[in-house]
């Protein structure tokens, strides 16, 4: 692991995150780590893990939070804006072009059938991610009960997210504080 870091210029910030935006098929975070730690050495591996902890703790899309926090660290508010714009410039244009193409052709039978297959597979991608995230709870009965109660409140009575968070987050933090999680 490298232990020296390089201070990026504003244009390097833009270009670095631009590459991440273009590469990030099916998950942007691994690319973000590769670009920042291995390719450009803006952060050490340990600094990246710490930054990642912050960005998971805060609300918002993780990789966007990373671009904002890293930009701020080197160039303040301007750095945040530049890193964010670099990250999103290409994906936002690509998705709007794809949407227009989809709108034009989604009545064509084979396109419609292709989308039924794509959507079913995308559900598999999300289910698989949910399973991978649930794996660390294995063997921790209290944590499993909290996760299942949260799951049930959303899937069963379709409680709103705000209600579920307002009820479950304090209960879960309280259990963690008592060291029972």
């Amino acid at each position: 692991m490298y232990d020296t870091t390089v201070r990026p210029t504003l244009s390097a910030l833009f270009m670095g995150f631009f590459t991440v935006g273009i590469c990030g098929f099916g998950g942007v975070l691994p690319w973000a780590r590769w670009m920042m730690v291995e390719r450009r050495r803006w952060l050490t591996g340990a600094e990246f893990t710490d930054l990642m902890g912050l960005c998971q703790f805060l609300p918002g899309p993780n990789v966007i939070n990373i671009s904002v926090a890293l930009g701020a660290r080197y160039h303040g508010a301007l750095g945040s804006v530049v890193a964010f714009c670099g990250l999103m410039a290409a994906p936002i244009v690509i998705i709007i072009v794809l949407a227009i193409v989809y709108d034009r052709f989604h009545e064509v039978p084979w396109v419609r059938d292709g989308f039924i297959g794509l959507a079913a597979t995308a559900s598999g991608l999300v289910l698989s991610m949910a399973l991978k995230m649930a794996a660390p709870l294995w063997g921790r009965p209290v944590a499993i009960v909290v996760a299942l109660a949260t799951f049930g409140a959303i899937v069963g009575p379709r409680w709103s997210l705000l209600t579920v968070l307002a009820v479950m987050a304090p209960i879960s933090v309280l259990i963690a504080w008592r060291g029972r999680l």
Binding site: N62, M88, A134, V164
Partner: protein, 174 residues
Amino acid sequence: MNPLVELALLFGQLSLLMFGGGPTILPEMQRQVTEVHAWLTPREFAALFALAQASPGPNMLVVALIGWRVAGVAGALVAFGAICAPSSVLTYFAAAAWYRFRDKAWRKVIQVGLVPVTTGLIGAGAVILAATTTLDWRTALLTGVATVVLTATRIHPLAVLAVGAGVGVSGLLG
């Protein structure tokens, strides 16, 4: 109300509720977009989500697609701006404080306590999404196979998505 204002209010609120990343708010987004505002049917929502998954960039781009469906390109930019801005401003100010408190016990307790809740929310989002893409036993089987392949192997997700689209195009799903 002006649809652009409705988009900004809805996604601005969801931005601050998105603990643990995008999938946390998936069930609420689906409920708001297909039931409360009735901008899309659940099937259309699932199709737009699939489009966002197959495209480069964060999968929160589905928000731009919803905005685009409601109010064109302006809708896409307003919705995506609204999902990013509140949380980004918070991150900007929290970054400094985070380093200051990183060894404090209460910070770790909150972090540990939120994990099971986030896990439950993400599971719920996945199940609700899968219910809308399951039309019959064939689509259910495709989702099941994709789940197993993506969990048990290291095959690139984009390759699996491409195969799924190919299965659909070939007419095997009816």
